[in-house]
Amino acid sequence: MKVGVVTFPGSNSDVDALNALSVAGVDPITLWHESPDLQGVSAVILPGGFAYGDYLRAGVIARFSPVMRGVSEFAAAGGHVLGICNGFQVLAEAGLVPGALLRNRSLRFACRMVAIKPERLDSPFTRAATGRPIHIPIAHGEGCYYADEATLDELERDGQVLFRYVRGDGTPALDPDDPANPNGSLRAIAGVCNAAGNVAGLMPHPERMSESILGSDDGMQLIRSLVESAMEWEAAGRPASAKAAAAVEARR
C-alpha cells in the first residue's frame, strides 16, 4: 500500500513523514506540488514546513497549487488526509477542515515538546492511540486555533475536536495563557477533523517522534491510526463517503 506525502516548495517535514510511514510498514511516496495526480495512493499527508514561504498567510498559496486539486478530489471521494503543522494550515485555508490558525498569542515562534490528548479513540486518526497524553514536538509561529464561538460549540458537539493541549495532570489547558497551551488556541484545540471525519489537521508533529532513536515513538500512534484507516478503506474497495463528498462539494 502506498501513502503519499506532498512536497511543496518550503516543506521541511516531508522526509520525516516519509520515514514515519516506512516505520509503519507502508510504501511512502512523494507527491510533487505541481501535479494533481496522486498516483493511486491510499492516504495523503500534508507535511510541516513553510509552503511557498508562508507568504501572505500560512498555507494560502499552497491551497491553490495543482496538487491540492487532487487532494480535494481524494478527500471528496472518502480518502484520508492528515495535515501536520503547515499541512494543517493549508487544509484550514482550503476550507477542508474548519477554523483558522492565527499568529501565536505570544508572538513567538514556539519550538518545544507539548502534551496533547485525543478527545476520542474511534476516529480514523486516533484509533491506534492509547488515550493517554501524547508527547510530541511543535514548531510553529501561527498555531493559535481560532473559530467563532458557535463553530467551536458545533465542533465539540459533533466530535470534530480530535486533540487538545493538556497540562501535566492530563486536563486540557483551556486558559489561552496557560503555559501548557503553547499558542493560545481557543479551547486548547490542537487538532480537528472535517464533518465527514476523513480529513484532519493538527499543529504538533507526530512524525518527528516516530522511533525510539529520536527520543520516543509516541507519534506513531497517530501515523499507525492513519495507516490502519487507509488499509481498511482499501480493503472495503475505497467506499465513497457520501458525507465526505457533500462536505467538499459545499465548499465550492
Partner: protein
C-alpha cells in the same frame, strides 16, 4: 481597455486577537506615548487590473480580496481605487 490600480487593505476583524497590534501597543510607553489605543496591524496589497470598465475590474479585485488576499473567517478587507489609466487616450486620473 483601461488599467485600474487598486489597494486592498486587510485587517483582523473586530474581536479577533491581534498579537501584532498588541505588541505595537505595548511598545508605546517606551516612546512616551500615552494617548494612543486600539492598535490593529494588517496588510496592504496594491495591484493593477486591465479591464474594459471599473465595474469589471472591481469584480476581479473583490474576488481576489475574498479568496486570496484575506481569510474571511478572521479578516476584513477594504478596496480603494488609486488610479485609472485609459490606454486609448492615455489620460491618467490619479485618485489618491
Amino acid at each position: 481597455m483601461s488599467e485600474f490600480r487598486y489597494a486592498v487593505n486587510v485587517l483582523p476583524k473586530p474581536g479577533i486577537l491581534d498579537p501584532q497590534g498588541r505588541a505595537v501597543e505595548l511598545s508605546l510607553p517606551h516612546l512616551n506615548v500615552t494617548n494612543v489605543s486600539r492598535v490593529r496591524v494588517g496588510r496592504r496589497a496594491e495591484l493593477t487590473v486591465t479591464a474594459d470598465s471599473e465595474a469589471e475590474a472591481r469584480q476581479v479585485v473583490e474576488s481576489l480580496a475574498k479568496e486570496l488576499l484575506s481569510n474571511p473567517l478572521i479578516e476584513a478587507y477594504a478596496i480603494e481605487l488609486l488610479e485609472a489609466t485609459s490606454s486609448t487616450d492615455s489620460t491618467k486620473t490619479t485618485l489618491a
